[in-house]
């Protein structure tokens, strides 16, 4: 019997209006709720302790892996253009800030949590985890607790950024802002930044200018600090990419975070820490797995580029890695995955996504949780 419990319950009658008031107007996709409060997950405090410890441990392993990659000077296996290797290394050596990230974990409450991947660059489902489920708890499970320190840790994070920069500088927030989910995440980050005492301004990724010396806003002002909800691998492939090497903008997340959001970190971690209880065997060679396994594109996002390979299926060789199959636990016919947040280099909370299919994708629903 699984220890983690999935409970069915009646959604609040006006839940759409309630979450919209909190900035979540992307609660429904294709007529189906994305924010799903027809169910919730109950964890024991001991289970949360296990998730928290695993998250802290995995983050520490990841930082160790970055150190080794930087010192080794070879990022070819991560399919990162060599032009940017030194620039990435410099961002690590300067301790450029990485504010947040989200591990995707497989955990059923019994076996140790297993790391499926680390969304260390552009993690989404942030507003849902930090805000929406917190307010859900207040109303639906008053008096109960929840593993969710994300909001106050983010404010602390931005205060730390403020201490490192000219506090009069405006912090810019960018992404593909005509996408409601991206806009919601970007605006939430701007919100916590402003609560930390910094001025923030949003602009679409296409609105960023280059004046020959600096990236600029629409008024031509230099952008000194830029929070981007836009993957590094995309930025590195676009027309302005060469300006990254000479511009003065400080990026959040920092360039070195792209080493961790890359799926190639999975086999690298397994090479460094073979047999670690929170890692799955992973390799740059399909032939290292005799049976079924999971193929992942090194730059894949939100389930894109992930496929389950049967025994004997060779898969594709182009910019992919392979990982041991670790089926997600199933509750009421739903595959559930835990998004475990790291904020300020510490485990900060969780969010649950579930899907009737074994691969979590962009349309997998978000389900709140509480501590039983």
């Amino acid at each position: 019997m699984k220890a983690v419990q999935r409970e069915r319950l009646a959604p609040r009658g006006d839940w759409q209006a309630k979450v919209e008031r909190l900035g979540m107007d992307f609660h429904t996709f294709g007529g189906q709720p994305y924010w799903c409060e027809a169910a919730c997950y109950a964890f024991t405090p001991a289970e949360i302790d296990v998730i928290e410890a695993a998250t802290d441990e995995l983050h520490a392993l990841c930082l160790e892996a970055v150190e080794r990659l930087i010192n080794g000077g070879d990022l070819e296996r991560l399919a990162i253009p060599e032009t940017f290797w030194h620039w990435i290394a410099e961002s690590w050596r300067r301790h450029d800030p990485g504010l947040f990230g989200r591990f995707d974990l497989a955990y059923d409450g019994s076996a140790p949590p297993k790391m499926l991947e680390y969304n260390a660059d552009t993690p989404t489902a942030l507003l849902e985890a930090a805000v929406i489920q917190w307010h859900w708890l207040e109303e639906v499970r008053p008096g109960r607790d929840q593993f969710n320190l994300i909001h106050e840790r983010l404010i602390d994070d931005w205060k730390a950024v403020k201490a490192r920069i000219n506090p009069a500088w405006r912090v810019y927030f960018t992404g593909v802002l005509d996408e409601p989910e991206d806009l919601g995440t970007v605006e939430y980050m701007r919100d916590v930044c402003e609560q930390a005492g910094l001025a923030g301004q949003s602009l679409d990724i296409a609105e960023i200018g280059w004046d020959g010396k600096d990236f600029t806003d629409l008024a031509g002002r230099p952008i000194r600090v830029l929070f981007k909800l836009y993957p590094w691998e995309w930025l590195l492939s676009e027309d302005f990419a060469p300006h990254l090497l000479v511009g003065r903008t400080a990026f959040i997340e920092a360039p070195w975070k792209m080493l961790l959001s890359n799926k190639a970190i999975l086999p690298i971690l397994w090479e460094m820490f073979p047999g670690h209880p929170n890692l799955l065997p992973a390799s740059f060679r399909r032939s290292d797995f005799s049976g079924p396994c999971v193929q992942k594109s090194v730059h894949g996002r939100e389930g894109d580029g992930v496929c389950l390979l049967a025994a004997g299926d060779a898969g594709s060789a182009a910019q992919c890695i392979w990982q041991a199959l670790c089926p997600l636990p199933v509750f009421d016919d739903q595959y559930a995955i835990i998004g475990s947040w790291v904020v300020g280099n510490k485990a900060a909370g969780i969010g649950i996504r579930e899907d009737p299919q074994p691969i979590t994708g962009n349309s997998s629903v978000f389900v709140p949780h509480y501590l039983s």
């Binding site: 900035g23 320190l149 995309w234």
Partner: protein, 119 residues
């Protein structure tokens, strides 16, 4: 902080809720823009209008840059033959500017928009 507490004490928001009001202009990839620079506000207003002129930038923004002391007119496309240039503010009525500054936009965002378009 209560050492047993596992959730934020308060989750208050200040700016959310206005997010959906943001409108994204179409920007051709690699589009070059200009802004005229003026020694004084009056010259700028004569070329454009008071609403379209912006005063000298101060350090409270992100730094003034090379032309921090100038008044600026609105942004317009450098290439006046582009269809998009027909609806921009133009080069100014009387050509009273003391110079201009250029910037290129649309150099980021291509991959994101392409993938979203097919997603």
């Amino acid at each position: 902080m209560d050492p047993d507490r596992r959730r934020s004490l308060m989750v208050n928001l200040s700016v959310l809720g206005i997010a959906s009001a943001i409108a994204i202009p179409y920007l051709p990839a690699g589009a070059e823009f200009r802004r005229n620079l003026y020694r004084d506000r009056e010259s700028c207003i004569r070329d454009y209008s008071a609403d379209q002129c912006e005063g000298p930038q101060n350090s409270a923004g992100s730094g003034g840059g090379a032309h921090g002391g100038s008044w600026r007119g609105p942004r317009y496309y450098s290439d006046r033959s582009l269809p998009e240039a027909r609806s921009d503010p133009g080069v100014g009525r009387f050509g009273l500017s003391s110079g201009n500054e250029t910037s290129i936009r649309g150099g980021f965002g291509r991959v994101g928009r392409a993938l979203r378009a097919v997603g």
